[in-house]
C-alpha cells in the first residue's frame, strides 16, 4: 500500500514539475547583449546587438559570419519598437543578459527619463548593466562597429569602461540602478561616460575592420557627459573628467604629470586615492570641504631630479598636490558656472550634515549651487620610486 502511494506521488510530481507554464527554450531566444536607443523625429529607434552563438563557440570552426548581429526597429515607445523587432529578428529578443545600454546623443539632448522607464520596470531587464552615451554618433552606429580581440563588441564596451575607470579615471561605469537613483534625486546631476567612433563609421561595420593589424575603426571613450535633470548638457574633457572622478571618490589608479624644478617632467602613478566630502553650514550659508588623500609612486622620470634627497620627494608631493588642486578647482568652476549642476552630490553631503538647514535651502539648490563655497584640500604622499632610485638616463647634476 505504501509503495502504491509512493508511485502515485512520483507520478503526480513528474506531471507538476516537468514544465513551466511560460517556458522558453534556448533555441527560441535571441540573446541581446547591447541595446541602443536613438530618437529620430518623434519615434524611438532601437538597435539590439544579438549574439550569434555558433560564431562565439570555441568548438565550432568560425565561418565568415559576424559574431554579432544587430537589428533595428522604430516605434512610438521603446516597448513597441522592441516587440516590432520580432518582424525582423529570427527569435524574440531576450534581455536578461544585457551588458550595456547606449543612449544616442539626440535622445540624451531631449531627455532620457522616458526611455529608461521600460528598462527599470520590466522584470526581464536585470539591474546589472551599465549605461553609456554615444557622442557625435548615433547608438546605431556605435553598435555596428566590430571590435578586435573581443568578439562581442558589447563586452568590449563594458570591459573598456570598467578598466579605464580603474586605471585612468576619465570614465565612470554607471550602473542603471545608480543612474535611476541619481535621476530621481532632483538636487543631483547625472554623469554618463560618452563613447566616440574614431575612423570612418562606414568601414566599422565590415568584417575587414578586424582582419587587419591596425583596425581602422575604433570605439573610444571620450570623457564624461553632464546631465541636468535628464537632458544632456555637454561633454567634459579628459582632464576635467579625471577631476570629477577625484571629487566623486572614483579614482582607483591614474597618473599625474608634474614639471621638474629644472626642465623636464616627472610622472607619478597614483595607487590609492580617497576623497571625503564634508558639508557644513556657517551662519546659515552652506560650505563644502573636500579632502583628497592621494598615495602614489614615482612612475616615469624624464628629468634630472635627484630622487634620493628628501626634499625632492617633498617637492614631488607638493607639485602633485598643486596640480590636482588646480585642475579640480578649474573643473569645479566650470561645473558650477557653466553647467550649474550638482554632479558631485554636494547637496546630499549637506543633507547628511545638517538635515534641518538643508530642508530650508533644498528648493533653491540650483540657484545656490553656482555660488557654493568649496574648499579643496589635497594631500599627497609618495611611497616608492619603482625599481630604480635615480634615473640612469637623466643623471642628476652633481651638486
Amino acid at each position: 500500500m505504501a509503495k502504491l502511494n509512493w508511485i502515485c506521488l512520483l507520478c503526480i510530481l513528474t506531471i507538476l514539475l516537468s514544465g513551466c507554464w511560460s517556458k522558453r527554450e534556448l533555441n527560441e531566444l535571441a540573446i541581446v547583449v547591447a541595446l541602443g536607443i536613438d530618437k529620430i523625429d518623434e519615434d524611438y529607434e532601437i538597435t539590439v546587438q544579438i549574439v550569434d552563438p555558433g560564431e562565439i563557440s570555441m568548438r565550432q570552426a568560425s565561418t565568415q559570419r559576424s559574431p554579432v548581429v544587430s537589428y533595428h526597429s522604430r516605434g512610438e515607445t521603446i516597448f513597441e519598437a522592441i516587440r516590432k523587432m520580432t518582424t525582423i529578428a529570427a527569435r524574440k529578443p531576450y534581455f536578461a543578459h544585457l551588458q550595456v545600454v547606449v543612449l544616442g546623443e539626440d535622445l540624451a539632448e531631449e531627455g532620457i527619463s522616458d526611455a529608461l522607464d521600460l528598462i527599470v520596470r520590466d522584470h526581464e531587464f536585470r539591474k546589472d548593466f551599465d549605461v553609456i552615451m554615444s557622442h557625435e554618433a548615433t547608438a546605431k552606429e556605435v553598435l555596428n562597429v566590430l571590435t578586435p580581440i573581443e568578439k562581442v563588441p558589447a563586452n568590449k564596451l563594458l570591459n573598456s569602461l570598467d578598466v579605464s575607470e580603474k586605471a585612468w579615471g576619465s570614465t565612470i561605469a554607471v550602473n542603471i540602478d545608480e543612474l535611476v537613483n541619481t535621476l530621481s534625486n532632483k538636487q543631483k546631476g547625472a554623469l554618463i561616460s560618452a563613447i566616440e567612433i574614431h575612423g570612418d563609421k562606414k568601414l566599422g561595420v565590415d568584417q575587414t575592420n578586424v582582419q587587419r593589424v591596425k583596425t581602422p575603426v575604433l570605439l573610444q571613450y571620450a570623457g564624461l557627459a553632464v546631465f541636468k535633470g535628464d537632458k544632456y548638457m555637454g561633454l567634459l574633457t579628459e582632464s576635467e573628467s579625471k577631476s570629477i572622478s577625484f571629487l566623486n571618490d572614483k579614482i582607483q589608479s591614474t597618473i599625474e604629470i608634474i614639471a621638474c624644478p629644472n626642465k623636464g617632467t616627472l610622472s607619478t602613478e597614483i595607487t590609492q586615492s580617497t576623497t571625503k566630502v564634508k558639508g557644513s553650514f556657517k551662519n546659515g550659508k552652506p560650505k563644502i570641504d573636500v579632502h583628497i588623500n592621494v598615495e602614489q609612486n614615482v612612475g616615469e622620470v624624464e628629468c634630472d631630479i635627484d630622487l634620493t634627497k628628501n626634499k625632492s620627494i617633498d617637492y614631488v608631493n607638493k607639485k602633485t598636490a598643486q596640480g590636482i588642486d588646480e585642475r579640480v578647482e578649474k573643473t569645479l568652476e566650470k561645473i558650477q558656472q557653466q553647467y550649474e549642476v550638482d554632479v558631485f552630490g554636494f547637496g546630499d553631503a549637506l543633507h547628511r550634515a545638517n538635515p534641518k538647514q538643508w530642508k530650508k535651502i533644498k528648493d533653491e539648490w540650483t540657484s545656490i549651487f553656482p555660488d557654493l563655497a568649496v574648499a579643496v584640500h589635497v594631500k599627497v604622499t609618495t611611497q616608492g620610486l619603482g625599481t630604480l632610485q635615480n634615473s640612469l638616463l637623466s643623471k642628476p647634476k652633481e651638486e
Binding site: L16, C20, W21, S22, H123, R126, K127, D128, D177, V180, N181, S184, N185, D348, H351, R352, A353, P355
Partner: protein
C-alpha cells in the same frame, strides 16, 4: 480525534517563521515609503512593542489552559457572544489565508513567471496547505523544523553576499523622520508582524507539552523574527537606498538580484525566494488550519478533516477575487488592515482578558465562601 502535541522548540521555530511571513517581502517597501531611511528604527521600535503584545497574548492564554483560542472565546464570553466573536475572528483568518494565497501568486507572477495565471500558483500551493492540514499539527511542526535550518543558512548567506555593496551614506541622516510618519510606519509594521501572532494561540497552550518553555519560545521566536526583518530592512536601505526601496514592489527580491560575488556567483535570487516561500507557507498554513479547526469547534463537529477539502476549494477561489490587482492589495494592507486586525487581535484579546479576570475573581470569591461554611460546620460538629 486525539490531542496533538508539539514540543516547545517546534513552537519557537513556528513562531519565528510565522512572524516573518509576508512581512519579509512587503514591509520594507511600505515602511520605507513613510519613514525613509529611518525605517529600521521604526521596525526596531515595532519589535520591542511586539513583546508587550506577546505578554498580552500569553496572559490571556494562561487564563484558559488546555483550551485553544476559539474554545476560550466560548468559555469566557459565553456560548452566544463567544460564538459571534469567534466567527468574526475566523472570518479574519479565512480572508487572510485567501490573501496570502493571492500573494504568493502575485509574487511569482511579478518577478519570475509573468505569463502564468495566478490560479496555477494558488492551486499548487493550496494542495500543499490542504495536505498539511490533513496530516495535522505534529507533521506541520516537523516540517517547520526541517525548513528552519535551510532558512537560516540561506539568510546568512544572503547577508554575507550582499554586504560588500553597502554604502553607509544611504542610512544617514539619522532620525530625520517626523513623528507622524514614524507612527504610521510602526503601526503598519506591527500589523503585519505581530498582530497576527494571536493566531498562534491556537497552538498554545492546548497543544504544547511544556508550558514554561513554550512561553519563552513565543518571546524568542518573535525576537528572532524581528531581528531577521530589521536586518533585511537595514540592508535594503544600505544597499538600494531609501527611494529605491520604497519604489519597488518587492525590495528584498531586488536586493537578492544584486548579489554578485567575483562576477561569478550571480543571478541566484530564486534561491533566496526559497526563504520567502517557506515563511509564506508557514503563515498560510496557520491561517488555514485555524479557520478549519475553529469552524469545526464552533459547529461542534468532531473531526475537522472532512472540512479541509471544501474549505481549501473556497480559499482557492477567494485568492482570485480578494484583490483584483496589486495596487488594491498595497492600499488595503497599508490603510485598512492595521485597523481591521487591531480590532480582532488587540481589542478582542483585551476584552477576553478583562472578562476572564473578572470571572476568575468572581469564582474565587465564591470558592472562598463555601470552604468557610464547611469549616464552621466542622467546628460545630466537633
Amino acid at each position: 480525534m486525539e490531542k496533538e502535541i508539539i514540543s516547545s522548540r517546534q513552537f519557537t521555530i513556528v513562531t519565528f517563521l510565522y512572524s516573518i511571513g509576508t512581512a519579509i517581502l512587503i514591509i520594507p517597501s511600505s515602511i520605507t515609503g513613510a519613514a525613509k531611511q529611518d525605517a529600521w528604527i521604526a521596525a526596531s521600535i515595532g519589535v520591542l512593542l511586539s513583546l508587550l503584545l506577546v505578554k498580552l497574548f500569553l496572559t490571556l492564554a494562561n487564563q484558559t489552559p488546555s483550551l485553544n483560542f476559539i474554545e476560550a472565546n466560548e468559555k469566557i464570553l459565553g456560548r452566544f457572544f463567544g460564538k459571534i466573536t469567534a466567527i468574526c475572528f475566523l472570518i479574519m483568518t479565512f480572508l487572510s489565508a485567501g490573501e496570502l494565497l493571492y500573494f504568493i501568486g502575485i509574487f511569482m507572477k511579478t518577478e519570475v513567471m509573468p505569463e502564468t495565471p495566478t490560479l496555477a500558483f494558488a492551486l499548487l500551493f493550496s494542495i500543499i496547505i490542504m495536505y498539511a492540514a490533513y496530516l495535522g499539527i505534529e507533521t506541520f511542526a516537523r516540517s517547520a523544523e526541517i525548513l528552519f535550518p535551510m532558512f537560516i543558512f540561506i539568510f546568512i548567506f544572503f547577508i554575507i553576499s550582499i554586504s560588500p555593496q553597502i554604502t553607509f551614506e544611504n542610512i544617514q541622516p539619522l532620525l530625520e523622520a517626523t513623528k507622524t510618519s514614524m507612527l504610521y510606519s510602526i503601526t503598519r509594521f506591527m500589523s503585519i508582524f505581530s498582530f497576527p501572532l494571536l493566531v498562534l494561540l491556537m497552538l498554545y497552550p492546548a497543544s504544547v507539552n511544556v508550558q514554561q518553555a513554550a512561553q519563552k519560545g513565543l518571546y524568542i521566536g518573535t525576537i528572532l523574527g524581528g531581528v531577521v526583518l530589521i536586518t533585511l530592512i537595514v540592508l535594503s536601505i544600505l544597499v538600494l537606498g531609501p527611494e529605491n526601496t520604497a519604489a519597488r514592489t518587492f525590495p528584498s527580491y531586488a536586493l537578492a538580484q544584486r548579489i554578485s560575488i567575483g562576477n561569478f556567483l550571480q543571478r541566484i535570487e530564486i534561491i533566496m525566494a526559497f526563504m520567502w516561500i517557506s515563511s509564506i507557507y508557514i503563515r498560510t498554513f496557520m491561517y488555514f488550519y485555524t479557520t478549519v479547526v475553529g469552524l469545526a469547534q464552533i459547529l461542534k463537529i468532531k473531526d475537522h478533516r472532512p472540512l479541509i477539502l471544501p474549505m481549501g476549494i473556497i480559499v482557492i477561489g477567494l485568492s482570485q477575487i480578494v484583490h483584483p490587482d496589486i495596487v488594491h492589495s498595497t492600499n488595503y494592507n497599508n490603510e485598512i488592515w492595521p485597523i481591521f486586525s487591531f480590532i480582532f487581535t488587540i481589542l478582542l484579546p483585551i476584552l477576553l482578558l478583562i472578562v476572564a479576570v473578572i470571572r476568575n475573581r468572581k469564582s474565587k470569591a465564591q470558592n472562598n465562601e463555601t470552604p468557610q461554611q464547611e469549616t464552621k460546620n466542622d467546628n460545630q460538629k466537633v
